[in-house]
Symmetry: C2
Subunit: 213 residues, 2 copies
Amino acid sequence: MHSLIVYAHPEPASFNAALRDAAIQTLRSYGEVGVSDLYLQGFNPVAGPGDFTRPVNPERLGYVHEQRHAAAARAYSADILAEQDKVARADLIVFQFPLWWYAPPAILKGWADRVLSYGFAYTDEAQFECGLLRGKRALLSITTGGSEAELRTDERHTGTVEQFLRPFGGGVLAFTGMTVLPQHIVYAAGSLGEASRRARLRAWQGHLRTLAA
Amino acid sequence: MHSLIVYAHPEPASFNAALRDAAIQTLRSYGEVGVSDLYLQGFNPVAGPGDFTRPVNPERLGYVHEQRHAAAARAYSADILAEQDKVARADLIVFQFPLWWYAPPAILKGWADRVLSYGFAYTDEAQFECGLLRGKRALLSITTGGSEAELRTDERHTGTVEQFLRPFGGGVLAFTGMTVLPQHIVYAAGSLGEASRRARLRAWQGHLRTLAA
């Protein structure tokens, strides 16, 4: 089983980094593990005309139109191709990120905008169950600043945690055909003591072993 | 009435740009209109250590912790301060963007991540109805690639359009205290003929005049 960890956090000493490292360590027992460390890579999350090396219409950017044409000829910018190749190889993709404003950090949103393109991840005919990335499993592993109780008090405005993760999980990932696993959430990650952190990391590794087996 | 238009689209000839220009033209009759053209500005959407000019802990980034301290001393990077000053002046903020992957483009998500900071937009005590940006009105004006019928067929995975706009509208904006108005949506914007485009622009201007009056 080949895995890919797409990781988006600016601080190398964060609990997100510890969760990433725990996942790498565990998943290496089962096969190759790729890592996309978006902050470390300086990944550009801003979709734009530079994403295409041989644009069909250099005068007027039609983003999805260009994606269609770039897919057949691999005429994407090198950073997009590198990410797509990592996705193509993976059977399991773990997205490790902090929840910022009820959603992934911009650097990860932009990874989806640019990498999961028409022709690579889906077409007009190949969506959801028929998406081009079907057969792969995706797992969102998330930390939150607020506690579970605090997020529940926001529900009147935001909907439930499950609902506000749906644009990314049920939307982005399921649309491409990936099987989206139940998310792994560590609430109030910043307030965990050392013993709790260690316990959460052990539980996370156990969870991944169960998935891999 | 002072307005701010936060605009996120890479193509100057897009229908999004036309909607932006129509809004500028209309709202100028009622007062000052600021524009944040995120692509034109080359806005950096990636939250990171460079966002703080006098970090409390340069060794280990605690993003919200740094935001707290930066707010009192205006010790944010210049691009964040410029955006916050535009928000502070505005009574009405129009967000004009294409829906990409059921959410705002990364460049706009990062505007929220960086600009709507602890101490500027909210505190532990000042959230939702008590948020620091209360009294301002916010309006999401969105174009979609798919038709309304296509988005409905995605609902099993993604929830309704109303639900997947809630992380940004009900979440980000309502959390800061803004009054979030019903969204303005132009479905299948890329397929509109010239007459339909003109009709939609006129309707949009009428809608804005009603809001302003």
